[in-house]
């Protein structure tokens, strides 16, 4: 039975973001990216889209239905994913933005975003495996010893082996400092590892010959808390010095989680060294004797920051295909009479004609495009850093700090919006959307993990208000506020954008008011008022940023529109871009404005309610 392929991608929209708004062409004109032409970039997009559609797309529902099973031989992932794993690596999609010195193609990360977006849209559960493997490879290439790079890096890049990120333990979730996994030095410089880890994505599988785990563990005698953790490379199967596989490394999968979604992704509980035979290798040098072997969290963050951007990309991919599926359905599903034109010849009108359905489509469209703009904006900054590295090292530092300000915002805002979009897609499908005949329910189930993993969105909010706001003496957040404020001022002079510039100005003023209020909360020892409003603060900032970037896109669309026949398909596309910006600014940005008032008011109700006041029954 051939499977219905629900994968959808609007290449025109991706090309707008990539080439028109975020000017990939400029990046491709500068080293280290000038070996790639714009034509090649366009072909990469088209072929990635075809891979996502033809190869990954049909695996979405079957992999979800089959799921992952724990057997005496280890974890079995859905059979249909074996073939796509090998094809993905044969085609080299993991190497797109990998530096040339590591054997990659050295493309801008901005170009890798739409490719990742497509793969996640086609099958999110599958794409978690190569994304994690890429992250592990990056840590090994970046921090590993020459031997580690030679023994492990290459095999991860060819897909012969896969990689995982191992942090969580039953008692150490968001609070990773509670980890109890131990590392005891062996005489040969390696370590004996013992401990139990849970929720390890791709922790075991049967398509890669070996698995490279990057795990946090505490060297005997190291400090308590997260600062005493070190980062270890722990292979599933030991690797001989010549690269051949040796004996099993006493890493056992003891459980595969039954989950709400991403059933194709094996979420494993792993036992390390239950029989005393698990060997790990310290990543990034240092020795336990000299006491400089910790800093594992910082090293893991090399991967975590990347993983957080990846999660936002996953959310965008799923949201985008969910929107396009809902849109297609709304054009073909005939129900009810038009409020003015009646039922027409067909006896009912396509539901896209109903105002409430149009509203839902608009809500989805502008969220997807706003999130895309946010993601591409941040990714572009990353590439600017690579370009600057050669010419202006000081500029790199500033830009890098600014980039890091946006990581929690990106991760949390895009994943929250992604779930909202997926939920709206179910709504547009109506009863059909709640059934497995259509993909909407799977998109909703799959995307629900995204606000949770790689640091919950609550943790992201804490990172933003607790760490990033105060960074560089508050200069980063002020730079953000100035950037949006300056744009709002420019927009004021644009005829036809009075409402939008007005709302953006009010939003920036509200944002500044909250920043000032936060300083007062901090001075008045009311830190809890900042912590309790971290999530709404992040939401406010996210809406402000999305509105700003969508409006910037609208101005680009206006300029293009002036040259076009009004009814041409290109003109309709650009009018759609303008509509997204207007809708977002008029309907979602007011949420940010309202949030500014509530945050600044310092409402302490959630803090002051007695515990028993939530309910005495539980």
């Amino acid at each position: 039975m051939s499977e219905t392929n629900f994968y959808k991608c609007d290449l025109r929209e991706l090309e707008f973001a990539l080439f028109e708004q975020f000017r990939l062409g400029e990046l491709l004109a500068s080293p280290p990216f000038d070996h790639i032409s714009e034509d090649e970039a366009r072909m990469i997009l088209k072929e990635a889209n075809r891979f996502a559609g033809d190869i990954l797309g049909p695996t979405l529902a079957p992999a979800d239905r089959e799921g992952c099973r724990l057997t005496p031989e280890g974890v079995k992932v859905p059979k249909i994913l074996h073939n796509v794993w090998h094809k993905y690596y044969e085609q080299g999609w993991n190497t797109l933005a990998m530096p040339e010195t590591w054997g990659g193609q050295g493309a801008p990360r901005l170009l890798a975003v739409p490719v990742s977006e497509m793969m996640s849209a086609a099958n999110l559960a599958f794409h978690t495996y190569p994304q994690l493997t890429l992250g592990v490879s990056a840590v090994i290439h970046g921090l590993g010893s020459p031997e580690q790079k030679a023994l492990f890096g290459k095999k991860l890049d060819t897909g012969e082996w896969s990689g995982t990120m191992v942090l969580t333990e039953p008692q150490a979730g968001s609070d990773v400092g509670l980890s109890t996994t131990k590392a005891i030095p062996n005489s040969d410089g390696s370590y004996q590892i013992t401990g139990n880890k849970i929720f390890i994505s791709g922790g075991d599988n049967d398509f890669a010959e070996n698995i490279v785990h990057l795990a946090l563990a505490r060297i005997e005698g190291a400090a308590r808390g997260s600062r005493g953790l070190s980062l270890f490379l722990i292979p599933k199967i030991k690797v001989n010095p010549d690269g051949s596989l040796g004996e099993a490394n006493d890493v056992v999968c003891t459980r595969v989680e039954e989950k709400m979604g991403i059933h194709g992704s094996a979420t494993c509980a792993l036992s390390f060294g239950e029989n005393g035979g698990c060997v790990g290798y310290l990543i990034g040098g240092g020795s336990s004797k000299e006491g400089d072997a910790s800093g594992g969290m910082q090293k893991m963050f090399l991967m975590m920051n990347e993983a957080r951007v990846s999660v936002a990309t996953q959310a965008l991919g799923v949201a985008s295909t969910a929107y396009l599926n809902a849109l297609e359905y709304s054009r073909t599903r005939l129900q009810g009479a038009h409020h003015q034109k009646g039922r027409g010849e067909a006896g009912a009108v396509a539901i896209i004609e109903h105002p409430d359905v149009r509203r839902m489509l608009m809500e989805m469209k502008c969220r997807v495009e706003g999130c895309r703009a946010l993601l591409y904006y941040i990714r572009r900054m990353d590439d600017r850093i690579s370009i600057l590295r050669a010419s202006d090292p000081q500029g790199v530092g500033e830009l890098h700090d600014y980039f890091s300000l946006f990581i929690p915002l990106l991760k949390a805002h895009v994943t929250d919006m992604g779930v909202e979009v997926a939920s709206l897609a179910v709504q547009v499908f109506g009863g059909a959307g709640y059934t497995a005949d259509f993909p909407a329910e799977q998109y909703l189930r799959d995307s629900r993990i995204l606000p949770i993993y790689e640091g919950t969105n609550g943790i992201q909010a804490l990172d933003l208000v607790g760490r990033k706001l105060g960074q560089n003496g508050g200069a980063l957040i002020q730079r953000f506020s100035r950037e949006v404020g300056d744009f709002a001022a420019t927009l004021k002079s644009r005829p036809g954008y009075e409402i939008e510039s007005g709302k953006l100005e009010v939003a920036v003023a509200g944002f500044n008011k909250v920043l000032a209020q936060y300083l007062q909360f901090a001075a008045g020892d009311k830190l809890e008022l900042i912590l309790v409003t971290g999530a709404p603060f992040l939401e406010m900032m996210g809406h402000t940023m999305c509105a700003y970037l969508l409006l910037e896109g609208a101005l680009i669309a206006e300029a293009a529109l002036a040259e076009l026949e009004p009814e041409s398909s290109e003109a309709q596309f650009y009018r759609g871009k303008i509509a997204s910006a207007r809708y977002y600014t008029r309907n979602l940005l007011p949420l940010a404005i309202a949030l500014a008032d509530t945050i600044a008011a310092g409402d302490a109700t959630a803090l002051e309610i007695p515990d028993g006041g939530f309910s005495l029954a539980y």
Binding site: D39, E40, M43, E47, E90, G92, Q105, S568
Partner: protein, 272 residues
């Protein structure tokens, strides 16, 4: 005009004819007798992908070189680059405004001059292009070159010395045909599963040779090709007639069967 028939287990040089066509997967609109160009996107014609795949499989087995040839404006270069990304070794692009409006014969004339510039053992083409669906160019080219033709090939069974055995879908079933090389084959879409262009292939393509030629380079009189030399003329394009809406029957199976049979016998008069 036969160029080379000395293949005997050595290298097999293959020429693939490809065309950059309107993406018919999209909603093609016809207005005032011609196709609306607004919003059009172009792709490599699908049967040409089968021809490329077949050429690459033959190359893997026998070595040799695969050259892709296309005729068309600047934008057609995209399909050539795609062929190179799939693994083709060399591209030849005949880009000359005077080729516009060519019919199948015009294309065949241009291709005949093009392919004979280099030795070849085999020419592969899609069985028809996805835009005009004529299927004329391949057979006409074989005629001009005076080489054997096997159309609508579903399997290339063997290449042995100077002989090639191909299976084709014929009127009465599958036909097994043996030809002497050089020959021209046109590909059915069940011939193979075309490979996707890999990322490495895309990046490697820019270092492959791409020749751009005009009619003057090929010493072709512009009056013999393009709209000027066309023996056929498309007078008007018409959109496909919309099909009447179907009829839906609801109720118990016995009743529906009775009702449908009644309509088939009495109204459609299918059972005379």
């Amino acid at each position: 005009m036969r160029h080379r028939a000395d293949f005997s287990g050595g290298e097999l040089n293959v020429i693939v004819l490809i065309k950059h066509v309107i993406d018919v997967e999209l909603n093609v609109r016809v207005r005032d007798g011609s196709v609306v160009q607004d919003g059009m996107t172009y792709v490599l014609s699908k049967w040409d992908e089968n021809a490329i795949e077949a050429a690459l499989v033959l190359k893997d087995a026998h070595d040799g070189e695969v050259t892709a040839v296309t005729i068309g404006p600047e934008r057609s270069g995209e399909s050539l680059r795609k062929a190179l990304a799939m693994g083709v070794d060399k591209g030849v692009h005949i880009n000359d405004p005077a080729t516009e409006g060519s019919d199948s014969m015009g294309y065949a004339r241009i291709l005949a001059k093009t392919v004979t510039r280099q030795p070849y053992d085999l020419i592969l083409a899609g069985r028809q292009s996805q835009d005009t669906d004529q299927g004329g160019t391949g057979p006409m080219l074989a005629e001009l070159l005076n080489i054997p033709l096997v159309g609508n090939v579903v399997e290339i069974a063997a290449v042995d010395g100077t002989k090639l055995t191909a299976h084709r879908n014929g009127d009465a079933g599958k036909e097994v045909v043996e030809v002497t090389l050089p020959a021209l084959l046109t590909a059915n879409d069940s011939l193979n599963e075309p490979r996707l262009a890999s990322l490495r292939g895309i990046m490697a393509a820019k270092n492959k040779p791409m020749e751009i030629l005009t009619l003057a380079d090929l010493e072709i009189d512009p009056a013999t090709v393009g709209a000027a030399g066309a023996g056929t003329e498309v007078v008007e394009m018409q959109p496909p007639r919309a099909r009447a809406a179907g009829q839906k029957f609801e109720g118990a199976p016995e009743e529906i069967t009775k009702e449908v049979m009644g309509l088939l016998v009495n109204e459609a008069k299918i059972f005379g």
